[in-house]
Every structure is written in C-alpha cells, then in structure tokens.
C-alpha cells in the first residue's frame, strides 16, 4: 500500500527541456490562432474598404454638377403673366444665354453654343419663374446645369489632347466653354439635384427622387405587412401550437422560405399580384408585398428566438396571479422581447431595401420622369434605379451609378447602426 503511494508521488520536473519545449509549442499554437483570426478580420474589412474606396473614387464626381450661373433680366421681355406656360421660353432663354458671350456667331456656331447648356434650360427657367413670378420684375439669377459632355469636360474626364473627331466636344465648343469659364459664370456646386430631381435621360438632370420615394413606400408596405404577421405567427408557434408533426412541418417550411431565391418571389408577384389580383404594374404597393414575403420568415425566426429567451419566471409570475394566456404574452413576454424583435426587423428591412431581382420582375425598373406618385403609381426603387443607370450609355451615368450605390450603402449602414443602437439601449432590463 505504501509503495503504491510512493510511486504515485514521484515529483514532476516542470523545468526539464522537454517540458519547456512542449509548453513553447502550446503557446505558439495560441499565437497562431490569434494570427489566423487577425488575418481573417483584415481580409474581411479590407475587402469592405476596397469596395467603398472603389465606389467613392468612381462616384464622388457625381456629387458635383457643373453649373452656369446666369443673370437674366426678363423685365424687358414681353411675357403674358396670366399665362406663363404659353410664352416662348426657348427663345427667351436662348436669347439671354447668347448674351453671355460677346461676338458674332453663325447659326451653326450658335447651335454648338446652345448645346453646352442642358437642353432643358428653358424649362428650368420657366418652372422657377412659375413658382415665383416676381422674378420677372428685374434681373434674376438662374442656375443652369451644363450638359453632360461639358460636365465631363469640366471634371477633366475628356482628354483635350485627343483629335477632334475622337472627342464628344468640338474645338469650337471648348473655346466657348473656356470663354464662359473666364466670364466667371461656371461653377461646381454640390449636386443636390441627385436627390431632388426625377429620373431623366440627361445625366445632368437625373436624380433619385423617384427611386427614394418608391423605396420608401415599398419598405413601408413591407413593414406594415410583415411585422404584425411575423409576430403573430411567432406567438402562435411559441404559445399555442401543439407539439406534433404538423407544427414541425410548419417550422421546417418557414426556414425553407427564408432560403428561397428572391427572383422566385418576383415571379410570384408577377403571376399572382399583377396577374390575378390585377394590381398596377411597377407600383410600390406590389413591390412592398413581394418584399414582405421575403422579410416574413426572417421576422418569424427572430421573434420566436426573442420570445423563447424571455425568462420563464416572468411568465409563471403572470400566470400565477391569474393572467390569461394573451395577457401574459402581450403584457409581459412581448414587451421584453421587443428590443430583439425590433433589431431583427430593422436588419430584415435593410436586406429588403437592397433586393433587386423581385422588383425587376414586377416592373419597378420602368423609366419614369414624372414626379413620384403615391403607393399605387408606377415608380422605381433605389436598387432598380441603379440597374437602369448602370445600363445607360452616357458618360455622366457612370459616376452617378456609383454615387447611387453609395447612397444605398449609406442607408443600409444607417439602418444597421440604428438596429445596433436600439439593441444596446434596450438590452436586458429585467
């Protein structure tokens, strides 16, 4: 008995060479793991940084629009104030623009000159005066964007050294342009039109107003449909569903729904919402309904997990003083689960914001230049607008596509940040 005890207590030499080498190898494995993790993070963040940098480099110029600031004195011109639409604005505005540069010009030269300014110059001036007729009383200042080739020239996108037949702008036009610059009327203010204008086939006038409106309505409809339905379904599955095979089947299928490719939902929308129900094509209402089908499984899964995580002690306390099932859920479980549910909903909506395929199939990539209507009128959405602009040939749309992507990313980052803030603020208050 004593011998066994003595054998067991042979002292261990912790400082021997082999022990030290072994420990060194174990620590080296620790450090390697740390390095692998660091490399992974650097790779992921680096990729993200690369993406944003590329987009910014490609698109920052779209946030600036070269504009001619001209003073027009229309008090001397004959205009019928009671019917401003009928006036010959084209003639009036062209006449005023012509005055910006001294000297004689032939007809051909004049045409070349007028094409420096956006072709909608007349309408811009007309609309501004119709909003504020007092501008006719004296000299007034109007901001007229230059047309796309000259916007690109101003941003050094067009190489002046190329031979003339390989450029979009002729030598004469460049001469006129330089004269305008010298006269001091050309500037490069921030392109608010990118956010405030409707779509247009002219890049200098194109904006995201319609797309932003369409996306807003679609997301709102998506939220209003998927949020209550998702929570109700989660409550049913959590509290009321009997534990049998049918319930299991339902759960499996909800998870499957979350994995269905988004284009399939677009086809569903096309066939059912547009075909059977006869809803208007390209409407944000239909877009919202299709997006809600995609967000619904996400919300159900998040809501179930959130309800499960509420400690059962609270529920037992509520039942113990005689609360009914619905009272225990609505007065206790749901409020405590709500922060998590909100976080999941915001993330789900952020995903829906960027979905393109289903919206394309229901027609939200229409070319719409009129003001955005409500939820029932044809509209585009942010991702589909990007798709349209990416397809357009004009040089100006290249930068604008990247700028629009940056706007979309901006909204996504904002929504995700809001979700994280919400979660931090309301976490675990029991």
């Amino acid at each position: 008995m004593v011998d066994v005890v003595q054998e067991l207590s042979t002292p261990v030499d912790w400082q021997s060479d082999s022990m030290q080498r072994r420990r060194k190898a174990r620590y080296a494995a620790d450090r390697r793991l740390q390095i692998y993790g660091l490399v992974a993070i650097i790779f992921a963040l680096g990729f993200l940084f690369f993406l944003i940098a590329t987009l910014t480099i490609a698109g920052y110029k779209a946030f600036i629009q070269t504009t001619a600031t001209v003073r027009l004195d229309l008090s001397a011109v004959e205009i019928d104030r009671s019917d401003l639409m009928k006036a010959n604005w084209r003639r009036i505005v062209r006449g005023a623009l012509r005055e910006q540069i001294p000297g004689e010009m032939s007809r051909k030269e004049e045409r070349a000159y007028y094409s420096i300014f956006t072709s909608s110059a007349a309408y811009i001036v007309r609309n501004k005066i119709m909003d504020n007729p007092t501008l006719l009383d004296g000299p007034a200042v109007f901001d007229i964007p230059l047309s796309d080739p000259f916007d690109q020239l101003a941003k050094n996108e067009i190489d002046r050294d190329l031979p003339e037949n390989r450029r979009r702008v002729s030598d004469l036009q460049i001469k006129f342009y330089d004269q305008l610059v010298q006269a001091g009327i050309v500037s490069q203010p921030i392109n608010w039109g990118l956010f405030l204008n409707n779509d247009s086939r002219f890049p200098e006038l194109a904006g995201l107003k319609g797309a932003l409106s369409g996306s807003f309505w679609a997301l709102l409809v998506c939220f209003l449909i998927s949020f209550p339905l998702g929570i109700a379904a989660a409550i049913y599955l959590e509290e009321f569903a009997p534990k049998n095979r049918i319930t299991d089947l339902i759960e499996i299928n909800i998870n499957n729904l979350a994995a269905v490719p988004s284009v399939v939902f677009g086809l569903l929308g096309l066939a059912v919402f547009l075909g059977w129900f006869g809803l208007p094509r390209s409407a944000p209402l239909v877009g919202g309904m299709v997006l809600s089908l995609m967000t619904l499984p996400t919300i159900i899964i998040v809501a179930r997990a959130a309800l499960k995580s509420v400690p059962s002690a609270i529920r037992e306390a509520a039942l113990g003083i005689g609360a009914s099932k619905h009272e225990a859920i609505f007065h206790h479980n749901l409020p405590l689960a709500m922060p998590t549910i909100m976080t999941g909903t915001i993330i789900g909506l952020a995903q829906a914001l960027g979905e393109t395929a289903p919206l394309l199939l229901i027609g939200m990539n229409a070319f719409i230049t009129s003001d955005p209507g409500g939820v029932m009128e044809a509209s585009t959405a942010l991702p589909t607008q990007i798709y349209i602009w990416a397809d357009s040939p004009e040089r100006g749309f290249v930068a604008r596509t990247s700028a629009a992507i940056l706007v979309l990313l901006g909204f996504l980052i904002f929504m995700n940040a809001a979700a994280i803030l919400l979660r931090q603020r309301f976490e675990r208050r029991w």
Binding site: K243, A313, I314, E316, A317, A318, L319, G320, I321, G322, A323, S324, E327, H331, H332, L336, R429, W430
Partner: protein, 273 residues
C-alpha cells in the same frame, strides 16, 4: 348503554362523516401526477386546513413542489404533465372543465422560490393583478389596494417613497415580500409558497417567516420547505413526502417530536435528505 339510547341512536339519521374540528379549505384525494410515462405522485390524500399554515417537507425530488403546483393548476402549463384524482377547494373540483382557471389562480395565489417581480415599477407590480381582474373601479381604489397590500406584506414603510421605481431594484428579501404583496393584492383565499426563503439571507428569511405568521389570520397558507426548522417554526400542520408518496401528515408538534413512520423519523433526525 341501555336499549333506549341504542334504539334512539339507531333511529336518528346516521352521521355521514364525523364533522372535522377545523374547516378544510382544500382537499386532495388520490392525486397522481404523471410526467409523460414517469409517475411523480402516487395517490396523495391531503387536507389543507383553513387559516392554517401547512408545511410540505421531504427530500429533493419527493414531489412536494409537484403537489403544490397542482393546487393552482400551474402544472397545466407543462405539456407532458397529467394529473388524475380529485382536488377540491370549498367542495368544488378545481379540474372541472367548467372551472375558470384564471379565477382559480387569483383565489389560490403563488409565491415562487426565486423572487420574480415584473420588470415594472413597484406600483405596477402590485396593481397589475387587480387591474386585469377588474377589482378596482377607479385609480383611487387601485392605489388603495396597492397600499393595503404593501402594508399587509410589511413592505410599505420601506418603499412608500419609491413606488414608481422598478421592482427589480429592491433587495432579495424585499423582492420576495413584493411578490407576496402582489399575490395578496388579488384577494386570494389560499397562498401557496414554494420554498420562499431558500434564496434569501437569514434576516430576510426571518422577516418573511414573521409575515407568514401574520398572514395566517386571514389566509390559508401552504408552504414547501427544505428547512425543517422553518417548518417547525412556521406551520401548524406538516406533511412529509418521500419518493412521491405522502408518508405521514399531522400536527407539526406531533410530527417533529413523535413521528409514527420510520421514514419520517429518519428524515427528521437527518439520516437522509
């Protein structure tokens, strides 16, 4: 006895049962509880006397908490749990389909092992029950109920200035008394307590035991406890459970000084459990 008395006795209507000395508030007969296929309680017959404290003692896993939860049908919330036998309160079967379980749980309140106040203000914690049951017609009545319940739980003086603060900000002992006040607020007839002091320090425990003694005047109390000293201090009747069987029940004094069953004797003297 002469024949005259005997024949008189024979003619008088035979008494159905001997009238109990103390009124019985709740009564369990042949109560069996199954969790799926596993049986947790075997034919328990137990009387709960009105306005008395009945202690349920026994080693871990003997079924005392299970029996306690049967009394207010909290076992209904567990899907695989099945209860057979009869439990009556004031001669009404609580498992009768016509019985409103929500009303039953208001009449038979429960205090849990770990204090579980709602994550709301102290006022709201207590006002919630009366509000959903419609016990108060106006805000003033509600306030009155809250204040009275806090007084009855012996908590009013300590929290009267901070009724709007969250209930979870109180100390453990105060939280448990808040839970007792919450149970009292819905005017129960019976209060069930599942090891109410096991998560509390000795001073808080003493306060709660004092409270139980005061509440006894107006409520029937059933308390599950691991501590035999507590059972001895607080209760008038004691029931000893072992492996799902009610081994012995009787007056507390008698159980602790002169138990009949050997298993009871062993448990009390600390041979097991």
């Amino acid at each position: 006895m002469n024949t005259a008395t005997e024949s008189a006795a024979a003619e008088a209507p035979a008494p159905a049962k001997p009238k109990p000395a103390v009124p019985i508030k709740m009564k369990g007969s042949d109560v069996c509880v199954f969790y799926g296929d596993k049986q947790a309680l075997f034919d328990v017959d137990l009387d709960i006397r009105d306005r008395n404290v009945t202690a349920l003692i026994g080693p871990s896993g003997c079924g005392k908490s299970t029996f306690l939860r049967c009394l207010n049908r909290m076992n209904d919330t567990i899907d695989i749990c099945r209860v057979t036998g009869e439990i009556v309160i004031d001669d009404q079967d609580i498992y009768d389909p016509k019985v409103d379980v929500v009303e039953l749980r208001a009449r038979v309140g429960m205090v849990f092992q770990k204090p579980n106040p709602f994550p709301k203000s102290i006022f709201e914690n207590i006002a919630y029950g009366p509000r959903i049951h419609g016990l108060a017609e106006s805000r003033d009545e509600l306030e009155e109920i809250v204040v009275t319940s806090l007084h009855k739980a012996g908590l009013y003086e300590e929290v009267k200035d901070r009724l709007q603060e969250p209930g979870t900000g109180l100390s453990g002992g105060q939280q448990q008394r808040l839970c007792i006040a919450r149970a009292i607020a819905v005017s129960p007839e019976v209060i069930l307590m599942d090891e109410p002091c096991s998560a509390l320090d000795p001073i808080a425990t003493a306060k709660v035991e004092e409270l139980i003694d005061e509440l006894r005047a107006n409520y029937t109390i059933v308390i599950v406890t691991h501590s035999m000293q507590q059972a001895a201090r607080v209760s008038q009747r004691t029931a000893f459970f072992h492996l799902g069987i009610l081994v012995e029940e009787g007056d507390t004094d008698q159980i602790f000084t002169n138990p009949v069953d050997k298993r009871t004797q062993d448990y009390i003297t600390g041979r097991f459990g």
